[in-house]
């Protein structure tokens, strides 16, 4: 017989270790976690690899009190039919101006124009064609430049896919798994040991977050090797945001699983949570231009904040200080979900 000092850390480590082994041996779940995002990225990279549409897109900064039509009277080239002219109302403190410059940086606009001046992305060949058009009719316009590689859809998509993959793994790896443990009596068996509820929960959450980070790193590396997507920010910042996001999503999965003992009900509830997030958190398409109510609703979802923050780091090189609103929202949600999940947890 061997005797040792009872230790909460030792018990947490035992459950953590067992859960990791279970995950690594569940080949079907693991294949899904690794292959799904890689296949989606490759699919979209291939689908958007053809020549872009032969259409120019110009953002027009419309001063307060003016309209695109009134500007066309002063600058007839704004009526050139081969160009899509997108009006951007300029107001004091407006974010639309910042967004317009970000789009120019990402080649979503080929050129940005305002009365008497224009901005050009030096790496955009289409912008140089448009510049000739503008200077032929308005030679005194002031020229300014920005720099930035074109953002392909796949560059934009990768942060959403990483976050979505994390969400599924968090929900079904923790939420669904705990419900299954409860239904089959595994939790009841563990309850009969010296293991305490908080120790079990810490081990489950810790195991899943560790695995999520490892899987995300592998998926990131694998997809980057295949399609070379953009990453202009700090890897440490990105890891921090993904870690916080993983903790938040795992905590939400834990909250769902805290009392339910029906796998069917848990599965339904997790799907009910995950599908609106997939469509409204900006995984597949931007919510810019959607109804303000939709944009407000999207902010309720943790996935929205994870994706916004990760995308800003990867495409715009945003720092953590610039992402305080997203980080604050995720941290608050994590604390609330974790506290409610631990408080309402029951073994059987």
């Amino acid at each position: 017989m061997s005797t040792r000092t009872p230790s909460a850390l030792g018990r947490i480590a035992a459950v953590f270790d067992a859960r990791n082994r279970e995950y690594l041996r569940d080949r079907s779940a693991m294949a899904w976690n690794f292959l799904f995002p890689v296949l989606v990225v490759m699919g979209f990279a291939y689908a958007f690899s053809g020549n872009p549409q032969p259409l120019f897109k110009v953002g027009v900064l419309v001063p307060a009190g003016a309209t695109l039509e009134s500007l066309r009277e002063q600058a007839p080239f704004l009526s050139t039919p081969q160009v899509e002219w997108v009006a951007i109302p300029e107001q004091e403190g407006s974010t639309s101006r910042d967004q317009a410059f970000r789009k120019l940086t990402h080649h979503a606009f080929d050129l940005l124009w305002a009365p008497g001046r224009y901005w050009l992305n030096e790496t955009s060949p289409k912008g140089q064609v448009l510049e000739r058009l503008i200077r032929s009719q308005s030679p005194n316009s002031t020229r300014e430049t920005v720099q930035g590689r074109a953002v392909r859809y796949v560059d934009w998509l990768i942060s959403g896919l990483l976050a979505m993959n994390m969400m599924f793994s968090a929900f079904f790896g923790v939420g669904y798994n705990i419900v299954r443990y409860r239904k089959t009596g595994v939790l009841k068996r563990l309850k009969a040991t010296p293991l305490r509820a908080w120790e079990f929960l810490v081990a489950q959450v810790g195991s899943r977050i560790t695995l999520l980070m490892v899987v995300s790193a592998i998926v990131y590396g694998g997809t980057h090797a295949l399609v070379h997507f953009q990453m202009v920010g700090s890897y440490i910042d990105l890891a921090f945001v993904l870690l916080l996001g993983a903790t938040c999503l795992v905590s939400l999965g834990l909250l769902v699983a805290s009392r339910i003992s029906s796998e069917e009900f848990a599965s339904g509830l997790l799907n009910l949570l995950s599908w609106p997030m997939i469509f409204l958190s900006g995984v597949w398409f931007s919510l810019e231009g959607t109804h303000p109510v939709v944009q407000t609703v999207a902010k309720i979802f943790p996935l929205t904040h994870v994706i916004d923050a990760a995308r800003a780091i990867m495409l715009d090189g945003a720092s953590l200080a610039q992402l305080l609103p997203q980080i604050g929202a995720l941290a608050t949600m994590t604390v609330v979900f974790l506290a409610m999940g631990a408080w309402s947890f029951r073994w059987d």
Binding site: S2, P6, G10, R11, A192
Partner: protein, 300 residues
Amino acid sequence: MTAAILRAEHLKKSFGTLQAVRDVSLEVREGSCLGLLGPNGAGKTTTIEMLEGILRPDSGRILFRGEPLGPLSRERCGIQFQHTALPDYLTVREILALFSRLYPTSVPMDELVRLCSLSEFLDQDTHQLSGGQRQRVLLAVALVNQPELIFLDEPTTGLDPQARRNFWSLIRRIKQRGSTILLTTHYMEEAYELCDEVAIMDRGVIIAQGAPDALLKQHFQGVAIQMPKEDFEKAYWKDENQRTALQPFAVDDQVEIQTGNLDDTLRVLLDAGTPLSRIRIREQTLEDLFISLTGKEIRA
């Protein structure tokens, strides 16, 4: 008489309007094997789960070594539940390692493997085990902390007769090591084979308690005569009181008569013209005792 390791006093437990346990008091003596018997729905599992600390009684109290259930009982008791799955994708060896790390004291794995005969499937995933192998693993998990008291809740339900008998020898080996066991079962033969003392439950109360042989002696004298109902019905009774005095008891298509004087009873049956070519004479069992006490069969 050895001291009680576990004592329960006036336990009551209801689920909604169902009174599962109405008033149960019992003691488990150190080093003994106590069998809690009864049909499904008698309240055995509810009682044992209260004793294990899994369910909280509505009223009454439970003391393990004189202390209310808590960290001490969780560290020093071993439990084999009636329905338990094991974590998926782990081998038997890993399951034992997991559970042994949850206790301050643990039995060396080699010893557990030898005791519960696990060597053949030690590195096999738990979902690949047969019913008998699975029960042995669950028993090993219950023994992992060298428990002073082991709860076994219907450990052989669903096993084939051979696996059941193998499991019995395993429990005998554990008994020989001096462990205290509280066992629930609805197999009377199992209780008779393994238990030093039995408590028969029905409808949420204990209706009889004692050593199996002592209980049989207390309630029965003699043997049971069993014959087909149609043979018994062929008898011609000069006096209906003779028939009533035999106290025949119908079980399916058979009639049973308990008797303390076999010769006299056979003579009465012969005098009444009852065919005796198909009779069977046997000793009374715990099952007979249960039927006698409750007026119904043990239900599987």
